[in-house]
């Protein structure tokens, strides 16, 4: 299948945005052949998105700048064909599947590009039927975007570009908004499509382990606008290039390295399922038995007790079905489950945005049923997913003080408390800055600071790291860890991120269809096959590694590895 003429060829391509001093891409040389599947990895600012934008001609047509060198896609220059011309050759699937869903129904969205190309209606209907059949969307043709799951929306996005008979599929962080199991299925789907349709696939993603679930021909690693590695994943995983360039290694690779193993490419480390583990078995065993591990039991009092909570929006579905759990003072608990499992609803019941039908919520031993949203807000802080959903004042100081001002706190006290919080959150030097001058991560801090200033005892964070790459993810999570050191606060985090759950949280609550199906340590949850399947979680690869090495207590193995990693940080 692989022929000698590259379908994509970058020769010495550099690109500088007009607004920037430094070029974002520096002397890129890259050849991609028909039928290949290429993963482009790199942290934010590495230039990977800029590289992708060159392929669909958004650069230089929509984002202007100075471009040098030559780029050929299917033998043509994208800059000359323009965004429209390129849309016939390169199908781009965006990270935000909601944003990409333009039309009112699935069928119309699949047909959107055809409509714009003035394809007659009969042809269009036939094509939509063909594409929806391939992607198993036939039963949803009349559905509105709101009625679809994340995975279905992604399939619609994919179908929308496939309808144009493109030769190249370009995925811009396809996994960012999906729960882990759906992400895995998406990767399988991409693999099937590219084989059936004979396509070339370029995936931009920093979640390396999830993409490597299916074979990838080459990984192109970028940093600082340059390609720092272009090699087979087996080779790349044996090197330290990933860690050096801010990309997270697959967990089983980290674990093997922690055990002091030197991995070699001929053991095929790309997938843990097929990797030859025999040379490393002994090393892993001895590391496992030597690893220091202390079970730290937290015997403190309960901060939050939820008893037999039931709730439904309408008659059709029990959104929260008899849920009971406790959260102890000082804990960091993760709340997980697939999209629509009831996580957000549970949080909104605790915050008082909705009222439960049955059951009680006790906060520090007291029933909070009669408290208003604002009254609960003083005890329980809620931080939304995107800081843009919360920030309403132009200046940082005003934004953080808002909650105190509305509560009529004296001015002197406001100043003191806000400054204190700004110092804790590392925002004190920016206190007189406008919010608009901050980066996304800093805005996130502002939105958390504006809640912390009210001194809540419990903080609920809704997907604090969604859509963030490893570097920003680490930044946000280390910030949260830092706050915990400085303030006595209990945190509940809603998340899709298995790494986050395993690495940072003490306990995990797993929700499925409104029921609490597990309440245990993250290591126990992520090594439990049944629960992972039911809740659309992805079993950690540490489990597979433990099994392959003949270590029976996989959850203990996972826990020890995480403990070891935390100590080394």
């Amino acid at each position: 299948m692989v022929t000698d003429t590259p379908i994509i060829e970058f020769s010495d391509v550099s690109f500088k945005y007009h607004a920037q001093k430094e070029p974002t891409l520096k002397n890129i040389n890259l050849k991609i052949y028909p039928g290949e599947k290429i993963l482009i990895a790199g942290q934010s600012g590495s230039g990977k998105s800029t590289l992708a934008h060159c392929l669909n001609a958004l650069i230089p047509c929509s984002f202007t700048g100075d471009m040098s060198g030559t780029l050929r896609v299917c033998g043509k220059e994208p800059a000359k064909l323009g965004v429209f011309g390129m849309s016939q050759k390169v199908g781009t699937v965006l990270q935000d599947t909601d944003g990409q869903f333009i039309a009112l129904t699935v069928a119309e969205d699949l047909a959107f590009a055809l409509e714009n190309d003035e394809v007659p209606r009969d042809e269009m209907i036939a094509k939509v039927a063909e594409v929806s059949d391939k992607l198993e969307l036939t039963n949803f043709l009349g559905s509105a975007p709101g009625a679809l799951s994340g995975g279905q929306k992604q399939r619609v996005s994919l179908g929308g570009v496939m309808a144009c008979d493109v030769k190249i599929l370009l995925f811009d962080e396809p996994l960012a908004n999906l729960d882990p199991a759906t992400g895995k299925r998406t990767i399988s789907l991409i693999d099937d499509i590219m084989h059936d349709e004979d396509m070339t696939v370029v995936i931009i993603e920093h979640r390396l382990e999830d993409v490597l679930y299916k074979d990838v021909d080459r990984v192109v690693l970028m940093d600082g606008g340059r390609i720092v590695a272009d090699m087979h994943p087996d080779e790349l995983l044996c090197s330290d290039l990933l860690v050096d360039n801010g990309i997270r290694e697959p967990l089983y690779i980290s674990a093997l390295k922690a055990a002091g193993v030197k991995i070699s490419p001929d053991t095929h480390p790309q997938h843990i399922e097929t990797m030859d583990i025999s040379p490393y078995k002994d090393a892993v065993h001895s590391w496992y038995h030597e690893a220091k591990f202390e079970h730290v039991g937290r015997e403190t009092e309960n901060l939050l007790e939820v008893k037999n909570l039931k709730y439904r929006y309408d008659e059709s579905r029990q959104v929260i079905d008899d849920v009971s759990f406790e959260i102890k003072k000082g804990e960091l608990v993760s709340l997980v489950g697939k999209n629509g499992a009831g996580k957000s609803t549970l949080a909104s019941l605790i915050c008082g945005f909705n009222k439960q039908d049955e059951g009680t919520i006790l906060f520090a031993g007291e029933d909070i049923a009669d408290l208003s949203i604002a009254q609960r807000g003083e005890k329980i802080g809620y931080v939304m997913q995107s800081p843009n959903q919360m920030i309403s004042k132009p200046m940082i100081f005003d934004e953080v003080s808002l909650g105190l001002v509305t509560r009529g706190v004296p001015e002197a006290e406001i100043k003191e408390r806000v400054n204190e919080i700004l110092k804790i959150c590392g925002l004190y030097p920016f206190r007189n800055w406008p919010v608009s001058a901050l980066s996304f991560g800093q805005k996130k801090r502002v939105s958390i600071a504006s809640i912390l200033v009210m001194k809540p005892e419990l903080l609920i964070l809704d997907e604090p790291t969604a859509g963030q790459d490893y570097k920003h993810y680490t930044e946000i999570m280390e910030f949260i860890r830092d706050i915990r050191r400085q303030m006595p606060i209990t945190i509940v985090m809603i998340t899709h991120d298995m790494h986050l759950m395993l690495e940072y949280t003490d306990r995990t609550l797993v929700l499925t269809d409104g029921k609490l199906i597990m309440n245990a340590t993250p290591a126990e949850v992520l090594t439990d096959n049944k629960v992972c399947d039911k809740a659309y979680l992805k079993r950690t690869s540490l489990y597979d590694l433990a099994m392959k090495c003949g270590i029976e207590d996989a959850s203990e193995f996972a826990a020890r590895f995480i403990e070891d990693e935390r100590r080394r940080k």
């Binding site: 849309s87 055809l114 714009n116 949203i373 995107s386 919360m390 309403s392």
Partner: protein, 275 residues
């Protein structure tokens, strides 16, 4: 609130008509109602309107809110006509029959009552057709229909995409409102009116910013998929005109023509029972 006056998929003969047909009917119907003051035609139109409303299976719950809003403005309209021009009816019908002297220069006359009655029933000729049109027409089909009668497709698609995002934005609004309320910003009816207006800013600005973010993504996605490339576009949701459509269009045109002839036959657009 979310599904008030919005399209609902059903299988009535009215739903089956193409959006273009309904648009033509709607425009001609409103035009007729605006132009004629012939009481007989207006009453006939109300009867037809109610029958279609019943066939289209419109649920009262869907339209009641808007209905009462229209009623409110109608009452203001009728009262204002009387106060600003109490003898309009006498001028129009060229006669004067007093019923009751009210005060000052205001006397209630039969002619004025009859004139205002005509204005009143005009409202009722239009109201059912507005409801029927909005509730039975698929927005994307409407967009294709507008484009079909010569409205540029960028404008008709803008309409469609607005409808596509209304539920998302409503959702976002509720989320933001909850989170701001938790920060102590009072939005419920407990707060004073002035504070509530001021506090609305705390929701509007975040809503605006998150919407802007969305617009950026959507416009890129549309461009990537060829929107705006050509001067014309085709529509997946466009329905070809069938016999029923043609019949309705012919009826609409004929109805318009005949009513206009009847209305203007005697030289003015008023039906005058006083002569």
């Amino acid at each position: 609130m979310s599904n008030m006056i919005s399209y609902e998929q059903k299988n009535t003969p009215i739903h089956k008509l193409s959006g273009l047909t309904k648009l033509v009917f709607f425009i001609l119907w409103c035009l007729t109602s605006a132009l004629t003051f012939d009481t007989r035609i207006l009453i006939l139109m109300i009867i037809i309107g109610v029958v279609i409303y019943w066939i289209a299976d419109v649920k009262w719950k869907q339209v009641s809110g808007v209905f009462w809003a229209i009623m409110f403005f109608m009452v203001i309209n009728l009262v204002c006509i009387f106060f600003f021009s109490p003898y309009e009816g006498c001028k129009i019908y060229d006669s004067r029959t007093d019923i009751l002297h009210l005060f000052g220069n205001y006397t209630l006359t039969k002619q004025q009552l009859f004139y205002e009655f005509n204005v009143f029933i005009k409202y009722f000729t239009v109201i059912p057709s507005v409801f029927i049109f909005l509730v039975t027409t698929d927005p994307s089909e409407l967009a294709s229909s507008l484009n079909g009668i010569g409205v540029p497709y960028s404008i008709s698609y803008a309409l469609e995409i607005t409808l596509r995002y209304i539920p998302d934005i409503q959702d976002e609004y509720h989320k933001i409102k909850n989170a701001q309320e938790a920060r102590g910003i009072e939005m419920s009816s407990k707060g004073r009116l002035f504070d509530r207006i001021k506090n609305t800013a705390a929701i509007i600005f975040p809503l605006l910013f998150s919407t802007m973010e969305r617009i950026d993504v959507v416009s890129n996605a549309m461009e990537l998929r060829g929107f705006g490339k050509k001067k014309k576009r085709t529509w997946y949701s466009q329905r070809p005109l069938v016999a029923a459509d043609k019949a309705v269009i012919v009826f609409s045109v004929a109805f318009f023509a005949i009513t206009m002839i009847i209305t203007y036959m005697d030289g003015n657009r008023f039906y005058n029972p006083f002569l």
